[in-house]
């Protein structure tokens, strides 16, 4: 069933019966996909359903085992990145492919033939910027740029090469709401310019706001496509998962909340002397989820690490309150001791393997990183971690050949399930979690929310740093908003909206109505 037959669009790409295997794993199984000019196609699917693999075959990173690809109606062979450029295909990868010490302009012209003429290149880049409304300084070094600026450079890079088929792999995962809006405006511009655009994303509201058509992959197979206007988040999710799922986050009322962590005038400075947290004060209660909102880099990381004892603080106090009301100061404590009190931290960095997991170790061993001190004498206990690993794999549906598989071999989403699953299931009293669902598909995200709620019901004090404001508002009991290291507001999640929090995220001095 082709949804666009009536809309008289010209196909830019036709993929027919594409099959790709990695060893024994079937990543794509006889997939048929058509991409039209003047249209934004959202490609949906769970983690590991083969979306990125499919698109990588268009950008020349992988080569299909079976099937054929037609570009502008003609059969095409794409066996290297250069072939893709020549056919006008440009892909913006999830992990940016930029050289840090070079300028934006140098990165953009990288790999192109001919004489190096930076002046001419820069004026061409400036013209592209003007045409599409980008703001980028061509002579700025990449390491000086924010994530969104880097992404802009990536987009200009493919446009500079004359690409008219653009593929974006989770482009909004690291952007603020404002930056996302800007990106979408640019993408709509390009669509109206007659370009074909494919966007891979997990955020349903973005799919609805941006795309003209959605195509869904399920376990490597093509599950169907439909115009965005005639579907909704529920239907799309059902199609992705293959059965009906509930998209409601339950929010049980806190049972008997008691103060658990008390932060008082906490001040933290980075190594370069930049003020990261400025007199932050709040209380986290047991049996309650405290959300933390803020533009990334507003001090979320420092805050969680201070509580976990990993960050040197400059001033202020952090107290852990025992069940009997005794206060224990956490500042200056050994992180191991803090962890023994039941304070666990799961921080999902932009590169998921960067923190908390060892890529070359298997699932069981990674679970053991939490518990290796236990066991009899010099011997460690391997049975318990194996059981934990089994639980995490079963509960979060981690796609792995076995428990003995090195973590780095798993797909990004699955790696993250292992990390988050380990921290959440370690039965803590305080659960610190940041970006737990970063890059996870919608079904896994909801499983994680359920797990967090489960901990809340057990009386755990949860501090949840999140990016998606809709989720923060639905999941949390209270939301603390950070702006430039200061608390710009503390609101009751039941009586607030996105607009209010969005304002606080960008401005100090928001209202405080608890």
């Amino acid at each position: 069933m082709e949804a666009n037959v009536t809309r008289n669009l010209v196909p830019a790409v036709e993929m027919r019966n594409i099959t790709k295997r990695f060893g024994s794993v079937l990543a794509n199984n006889r997939v048929n996909l058509t991409i039209y000019r003047g249209e934004i196609l959202a490609l949906l699917g769970e983690n590991g359903s083969g979306k990125t693999t499919l698109m990588n075959m268009l950008s020349g990173i992988y080569y299909p085992d079976e099937g054929e690809i037609l570009i502008n109606g003609k059969p095409a062979v794409i066996s290297a990145a250069k072939d893709a450029f020549d056919l006008g295909i440009g892909m913006i990868h999830q992990h940016f492919k930029l050289v840090d010490v070079l300028t934006a302009a140098e990165n953009i012209v990288l790999g192109m033939p001919g004489k190096l003429d930076m002046k001419a290149s820069i004026s061409r880049i400036e013209k592209i910027c003007k045409d599409y409304g980008f703001e980028v300084n061509p002579i700025q070094k990449i390491y000086d740029m924010s994530v969104s600026q880097k992404q802009t450079v990536e987009i200009i890079k493919v446009l500079y090469r004359g690409a008219d088929i653009l593929i974006l792999d989770e482009p909004t995962a690291v952007l603020t709401p404002q930056e996302t809006d800007k990106l979408f405006a640019v993408l709509r511009n390009m669509r109206d310019d007659g370009k074909a655009i494919v966007i891979i994303t997990h955020k349903m509201n973005e799919v609805e706001a941006l795309s003209d058509r959605v195509a869904v992959l399920r376990q490597g197979q093509y599950a169907g496509d439909m115009p965005t206007s005639s579907t909704n988040a529920q239907e799309m999710t059902n199609m992705m998962v293959g059965h009906k799922v509930s998209l409601n986050i339950v929010r049980p009322d806190p049972i008997n909340p008691k103060p658990r962590i008390e932060v008082n005038n906490l001040t933290v400075r980075s190594e370069d002397g930049i003020l990261k947290l400025d007199h932050v004060t709040f209380t986290a209660r047991s049996g309650e989820i405290l959300g933390i909102a803020g533009i990334s880099g507003s001090g979320q990381k420092e805050l969680l690490e201070s509580i976990a004892g990993l960050q040197k603080t400059e001033g202020g106090a952090i107290d852990y309150i025992e069940n009997d009301g005794r206060h224990v100061s956490l500042i200056g404590q050994d992180p191991v001791k803090i962890a023994d009190m039941g304070v666990t931290l799961s921080f999902v960095p932009e590169d998921r393997l960067g923190m908390g997991l060892v890529g070359n170790m298997d699932l069981t061993d990674n679970m053991m990183l939490r518990s290796f001190r236990r066991g009899a004498g010099v011997f460690t206990d391997r049975k318990t971690p194996r059981k934990v690993a089994q639980n995490v794999v079963a509960e979060l549906d981690v796609k792995t050949p076995s428990l003995a598989t090195p973590v780095r071999r798993l797909s990004g989403g699955n790696v993250q399930k292992v990390l988050v699953g380990r921290e959440i299931t370690s039965a803590p009293t305080v659960l610190l979690t940041a970006y737990a669902v970063r890059g996870l598909d919608i079904n896994s995200s909801y499983t994680i929310y359920d797990l967090i709620n489960h901990q809340k019901e057990h009386g755990v004090a949860v501090i949840y740093v999140g990016e998606d404001l809709d989720v923060l508002i639905e999941l949390c009991d209270r939301i603390l908003v950070l702006c430039g290291g200061q608390v710009s507001g503390l609101v009751d999640a039941r009586h607030t909206d996105k607009r209010e929090i969005g304002m606080m995220m960008t401005r100090i001095g928001g209202t405080d109505h608890e």
Partner: protein, 331 residues
């Protein structure tokens, strides 16, 4: 009074082998290859040139003058060939077979020095001399031919014109290398390969080819440093081991110049000066003091390392992928 007019030419001649070595190593490192085989490569470059010159000198009767063009061509080509082979071995091991770069480099240095000593010893034996050295005086004289007016323009001639052509070539090579790195597409691609081969690969750059070419060209340039040492600095006299630790000093110089060959032109002369400073400062008969002065170049390198790391400016750091091998399918 410190005698600058005689000190500077000695410093320049002392610095030239280091300049060649560091220019070659900089090009190599810019491709992400940390070639610690440079000392061995320079040694091989020297002995290969010596072998070529030896056979040409022996082919021409002692009372007939050497043809300068042939003498230079034979010596240069055999030197370049020798160091090219060293570069190829290193590239094959580290790029194609992805062997550990440090281990490969150190092995090649040991290998190159051994190879040089073996052929050096053999040639000395062929001359029938019972001395521990041999002289290629006739070829060396051609290499040491100075520019005209050198002796008639006083201190100016002494400081600027009194060198053989290899010294000027060394400066030109360093400046050209700096220009290529900074202002050409090849240079841009090479820097990208050393910084982030994944990105370079995705941009359609042939990573392995760049690594091979940069390492081999770098090795050939470094080898010329060895040749300059024998033919110019040592007046054509080869004796095993005389080359000393100049190879390691070249690698230190790469760090000192923060990977910029144009800075190397001055820095090598400074290093050369520091290297011979002990001969110009009265130290009396105390050999221990002399040895302390000899440490100067290394102390300066350590200070530069400390200063550049403290300022942590990204442009002054080594290429990000230096010392690591690249494999596309690694996650």
């Amino acid at each position: 009074m410190f005698d600058f007019v005689s000190f500077i030419p000695r410093a320049v001649m002392q610095g030239m082998p280091l300049l060649y070595g560091s220019t070659g190593e900089t090009l190599t490192e810019k491709s992400g290859n940390l070639n610690l085989g440079i000392p061995g490569t320079m040694y091989v470059g020297a002995i290969s040139g010596v072998i070529g010159a030896f056979f040409y000198e022996n082919a021409v009767p002692a009372d007939v003058a050497l043809n300068p063009a042939i003498a230079i061509a034979v010596t240069l080509l055999s030197s370049l060939l020798g160091s090219l082979l060293m570069g190829l071995i290193y590239s094959f091991l580290t790029v194609s077979l992805r062997a550990n770069q440090n281990v490969t480099g150190l092995a090649l240095t040991t290998f190159g020095v051994g190879l040089g000593d073996f052929f050096g010893g053999s040639l000395i034996k062929l001359t029938g001399s019972d001395m521990a050295y041999m002289s290629l005086n006739r070829t060396s004289n051609i290499f040491r031919t100075t520019l005209p007016f050198a002796s008639s323009t006083g201190w100016f001639g002494k400081i600027f014109l009194s060198y053989g052509f290899l010294a000027y070539l060394g400066v030109v090579v360093a400046l050209v290398a700096a220009y290529v790195l900074r202002h050409t597409r090849v240079g841009l691609h090479l820097r990208a390969v050393g910084e982030n081969p994944n990105t370079a690969d995705a941009a359609g750059i042939n990573v392995n080819r760049y690594k091979y070419v940069a390492t081999c060209v770098g090795s050939m340039i470094a080898g010329l440093g060895g040749l300059y040492y024998v033919m110019d600095y040592a007046n054509g006299i080869w004796s095993n081991g005389a080359f000393g630790d100049r190879g390691w000093l070249s690698i230190a110089l790469v760090i000192f110049t923060i990977w910029r060959p144009n800075i190397g032109v001055f820095a090598s002369i400074l290093f050369g000066g520091l290297y011979i400073l002990h001969m110009y400062i009265p130290t009396g008969m105390n050999l221990a003091i002399k040895e302390i002065y000899k440490m100067a170049p290394y102390v300066v390198t350590i200070i530069v390392l400390v200063v550049t790391s403290m300022r942590s400016k990204r442009e002054n750091q080594p290429p990000a992928h230096l010392g690591l091998s690249y494999f596309r399918e690694e996650r």
